[in-house]
Amino acid sequence: MNHDDRDSPTPKGAGIDPREWEAQERALRAERLKLDAGHGDARTAQYRVIARALRQPPVSPMPDDFAAQVAARVAGAPRLDERVEAWLQRLLSGLLAVVAAGALAMYGPQWMPAFTGLLPDGAGAVTGWAGAVALCAAMTWGLQHLRRDDGAGGVPG
């Protein structure tokens, strides 16, 4: 990004000495343009030492493969809209389960005679086992679903 005088006109007020500000800006420009060391007065020269130090990058080294690391992490993370969709799906599934359980509790006793009437004799035990199998299948499916959603998360913020 280019920098020129329009970016940093001498500020007024705020406890800033305009001459000092000008010296600081002259030093900054001189360092950027790599002007000869004899350029400017003693004050500007002192600020050039500071400007030179400030142009050196911080000491913490950035890993060489930083960009590849971040890209790999992003590839494994879902986008925001995908996460919202997953949460919405989970919420609606939960809501459906609650409503279904409520309906069963309220109307179950009325429905059961109609169902049991359809089954042959000795069907009571069969119904019990079928219910247990259905419950196990539902729990397995639910746990797998939850585990998959947790594994997909992991984006900070």
Partner: protein, 191 residues
């Protein structure tokens, strides 16, 4: 700006290697901002990754109203700032003379005959300056880095940080004047 647009569109379209290209282009800026703010290598790496993940998640919200560099710098700054706030580390310290309108100037102590080459060749002096830069509060360090190292204009720094231009200038002025005072004190000790 058209390069920014092409890059953003490539990333949003999920083109292979596009996001890695974006990271490579702006990782220096992001790293410098966060490193200057938090001064901890492990935290810097983690927060820098977090900043780019957020960039990836929210890139569809970028409206090309400012340069992509400013937008990404803004994300990096907010990630680092939030980290310091969570750790209850103040990012700025009040500077003497802020309230009373006193004009801060070390001009009176200027001496002629300063040898720039000798000063920059002095390793001890360079080490002292770097130590003084590190000792500045996080915000001042970051503003100086953005302005001097990244060459970001003040108006863009204001966009990145949400700080008024006048306040940024005040911080820059005071920080540089303070560093010069310390430099002079060092030279006085040598004389």
């Amino acid at each position: 700006m058209s390069e920014d647009r092409a890059l953003v569109e490539d990333v949003l379209a999920g083109r292979a290697g596009a996001f890695e290209r974006l990271v490579r282009q702006y990782q220096g800026l992001c790293w410098h901002i966060i490193d200057r703010m938090v001064r901890h290598p492990d935290d810097t790496r983690e927060l820098c990754q977090e900043a780019f993940l957020r960039v990836h998640q929210c890139l569809h919200q970028y409206r090309f109203e400012s340069a992509l560099k400013s937008w990404i710098g803004q994300v990096a700054y907010s990630v680092a700032k939030r980290h310091l706030e969570r750790k209850r580390i103040p990012i700025v310290e009040p500077v003497a003379g802020d309230d009373d309108g006193e004009v801060f100037s070390p001009m009176d102590t200027v001496s002629d005959g300063f040898d720039l080459e000798a000063a920059t060749a002095d390793d001890e002096m360079a080490a002292l300056l770097h130590a003084q830069i590190e000792a500045l509060p996080p915000l001042q360090r970051t503003l100086l880095t953005l302005y001097h190292l990244e060459e970001v204009p003040i108006v863009e720094i204001a966009r990145m940080t949400g700080i008024a231009e006048g306040t940024i200038k005040s911080h820059l002025f005071r920080s540089r004047a303070l560093l010069r005072e310390r430099l002079q004190a060092r030279m006085g000790a040598h004389a």
